[in-house]
């Protein structure tokens, strides 16, 4: 790198410090802000350059508008892109917490300690959970598993980060991925060494330095040859977040014979019943499978005002497998455009897509999926099932399947159904003594069974309850 540029940069960096409040960047996005973020994170030079390159690409890009969603595009110069991890205002007891929120917690069966942690009530040291965390970390470290904040990884494991970051979701992949690449400040890094089967579900809950949900999270997960990991993201508790725009990037790398299971429960603030407020969730999630590798995405999406999300698999290696299991619920004025891309490049690659959309109220839910079979992908197989369940007459459900086949030996199956929770079904349940709310929960859980079965046990139970809460009051 040019010495002169280096000097000017660092000079500017210092100058910058004096100009602004050190905990929060001023609104707006430019190269100086990116230098500021990188300096705050004490990042190596290459990381800064990487960010700047992403930013330059982003500047030339336009916000996409092909998705079946309508929203007021954010003013990207009116956002502050860095603030030091916020300490939530500490409350003295749960009495100070919004009673609505507490009611939801109760319905989800969240323990009192957990309720306090989520709402920021000061908790006396919870010995159990601390010791559990420590034991977990020690055990993981013994096996050579790295699980830490991405900003720590940039400093502590620069070789790994440098080797893999942006290889699955390139900096300039799309508008939101480019933005994330330029300004990400939070997220997880995980590396499973060769041949290691991670003995527990890794969840962000157990990651040290967790400071709420980042606005521009970046997750990088590498499963080395022959390893296995199951990763849980999100939690079923409602996340009230003041950041309206979320643009996360998740990259998964499954090397030869490795397997990654990635489960998400997303329950961000969806806006109120009139459709005011709520999070915009524009996420890029993608994994790459080398030879004999397997990646499974499972997601239960009930939150956010607008969702734009397509967890995808690049089946590069021969015999690799990609799976996508999704439940997306929209109620009131929520909008979701979600699905997957299965890119078959290697021979004998297989993919399965099971998508279950549930629309209620005035919401709009769309499935958008691409199955692409490359010319080399001899004997590729895909099975897709996309179902929609409608409640009421004011919601809309749409399916946009795209299929591109460049190899004649491919077998691709697509099934789609649209159904309504009928008066007949409800009356049948009612007649057997099951009240309407419980009947809806029963019908919806039955409809989603194939996806919920993919979730780790305790998550599945919570997800079921979450579906019930999300659809409360949606019929009659």
């Amino acid at each position: 790198m040019d010495i002169l540029e280096k000097v000017t940069n660092s000079d500017y960096k210092y100058g910058f410090y004096t100009k602004i409040d050190s905990d929060k960047a001023p609104k707006g996005l430019n190269e100086d802000i990116i230098r500021f973020i990188s300096a705050k994170k004490e990042e190596p030079e290459w990381m800064l350059e990487w960010r700047l390159d992403a930013f330059r690409q982003w500047q030339k890009m336009e916000e996409p508008n092909w998705a079946h969603v309508k929203y007021q595009k954010p003013d990207y110069q009116d956002i502050s892109y860095y603030s030091a991890p916020k300490k939530k205002k500490s409350l003295d007891s749960l009495d100070e917490v919004d009673p609505e929120l507490l009611k939801t917690f109760e319905k989800l069966g969240i323990s009192l300690d957990e309720q306090k942690r989520l709402t920021g009530v000061a908790v006396d040291v919870v010995v159990d959970s601390v010791s559990v965390k420590t034991t977990f970390r020690e055990k993981l470290a013994e096996m050579g598993i790295i699980f830490c904040a991405i900003s720590d990884a940039v400093k502590e494991y620069p070789e790994l980060v440098k080797k893999y970051i942006g290889t699955v979701v390139p900096k300039g992949d799309n508008f939101f991925a480019a933005l994330n690449s330029a300004v990400f400040t939070d997220g997880s890094f995980c590396y499973i060494p060769k041949g290691v089967k991670c003995p527990m579900e890794l969840s962000t809950y157990f990651r040290i330095n967790e400071a709420g949900t980042g606005q521009f999270e970046r997750t990088l997960l590498i499963a080395d040859e022959g390893s296995y990991v199951s990763y849980l993201e999100g939690c079923t508790a409602p996340m009230r977040d003041e950041n309206q725009l979320h643009a996360a990037v998740v990259e998964l790398v499954a090397l030869d014979d490795a397997e990654i299971k990635y489960s998400t429960v997303q329950n961000w603030y969806p806006g109120n019943k009139e459709g005011k407020g709520g999070v915009f969730n524009f996420v890029t999630k993608r994994g790459i499978c080398e030879r004999n590798a397997k990646i499974s995405w499972t997601q239960v999406e009930t939150g956010s005002a607008v969702t734009w999300k397509y967890p995808s698999c690049i089946l590069k290696g021969d015999n690799s497998i990609g799976e996508f299991y999704s439940v997306a619920v929209t109620n009131n004025y929520q909008q979701a455009d979600t699905g997957t891309k299965m890119i078959h490049l290697g021979r004998n690659t297989k993919s399965t897509i099971i998508s279950k959309g549930i629309c209620a109220g005035n919401s709009e839910g769309s499935y958008r999926g691409l199955v692409k079979i490359g010319p080399r992908a001899q004997n590729a197989r895909n099975f897709s099932e996309c179902d929609s369940l409608l409640m009421g007459n004011a919601c809309g459900s749409h399916t946009f399947p795209y299929i591109e086949i460049k190899n004649k030996s491919a077998k691709v199956e697509h099934e789609a159904t649209t159904s309504k929770i009928g008066e007949d079904q409800l009356f049948y349940c009612n007649q057997r003594g099951i009240p309407t709310e419980e009947a809806i929960a029963l019908i919806v859980n039955g409809y989603c069974k194939d996806v919920l079965n993919q979730l780790p046990m305790e998550f599945a139970v919570e997800a079921q309850k979450l579906l019930e809460v999300s659809l409360e009051g949606s019929v009659g």
Binding site: E423, Q425, C429, N430, R432, G433, I434, N445, G446
Partner: protein
């Protein structure tokens, strides 16, 4: 048990029930017969509390209580059961899970604790044996891919599990072959007692060869036009419904 007085009901402005009077006492089996379109299924739906119908006149009392303002599930909790003519499918919900929910919601409605899983499984096995049902039934999605006979058997299975005070069997014989008819009828007969009552709604008399009614009513054009004992059913079978029509118009 059940006391219906001068019941009038309509749907979308069309009058269907035009003054029904019916009294069913504990221990009795009543058959309601009538040609298609006479209002048989409407009567069962209205008793069970389906909201699509408008009730302009009359009253329904069940176990001594006016149930006109109660929801279908409240009526079910009191011990009212309707075996559906066309049982609906609920994909992904197993027979076991459905019944567990139904039984425990009903118990909750009566202020009782949930039934222990062990007891429930034991009861399910007994009742399934009684109805000659295969064990694989329990894990199948309710009514999904069931044959007509399996659906009806499943209805009677649920009746056996829920132990209602009053069961209304709406065209339970339709879609059943002779063997299934016999099995279903035997099941119903085993559930008969001096404390409960059964109303059999049917188009044909053949179910009544197996489930012997105490009283038979003929429903025609929204009214009960004739009542009698079981011989009335046989008379209808041999003379057909036209005989009733002629008798009324004469």
């Amino acid at each position: 048990m059940l006391k219906i007085k001068n019941l009038h009901a309509s749907i979308d402005g069309t009058d269907i029930l035009k003054g029904i009077d019916l009294e069913v006492k504990p221990g009795e089996v009543h058959a309601i017969m009538g040609p298609n379109g006479s209002g048989k299924s409407t009567l069962s739906a209205v008793i069970a509390g389906r909201e699509d119908y408008e009730i302009s006149q009359g009253s329904i009392e069940f176990v001594g209580e006016d149930i006109m303002d109660l929801s279908p599930e409240e009526r079910a909790h009191m011990g009212l059961f309707l075996s559906f003519q066309y049982p609906v499918e609920i994909p992904g919900v197993s027979v076991t899970n459905f019944l567990k929910t139904a039984i425990n919601e009903s118990r909750k409605g009566r202020g009782l604790e949930a039934m222990p899983a062990k007891d429930m499984l034991k009861a399910m096995r007994e009742k399934m044996a009684m109805l000659e049902m295969d064990k694989s039934f329990m894990s199948r999605s309710i009514n999904e891919g069931f044959s007509g006979g399996e659906k009806k058997r499943n209805e009677i299975f649920q009746m056996a599990m829920l132990e209602p005070k009053l069961a209304i069997l709406d065209e339970t014989d339709s879609g059943l072959d002779i063997d299934a008819l016999r099995i279903v009828a035997n099941g119903v007969n085993k559930l008969r007692s001096k404390d409960n009552a059964i109303v059999v709604i049917t188009h044909y008399q053949r179910l009544l060869d197996h489930i012997i009614p105490d009283k038979v009513h003929v429903l025609f054009n929204g009214k009960i036009v004739k009542s009698g004992d079981k011989s009335l059913a046989l008379e209808l079978e041999s003379k057909g419904y036209d005989w009733i029509k002629e008798e009324i118009t004469a």
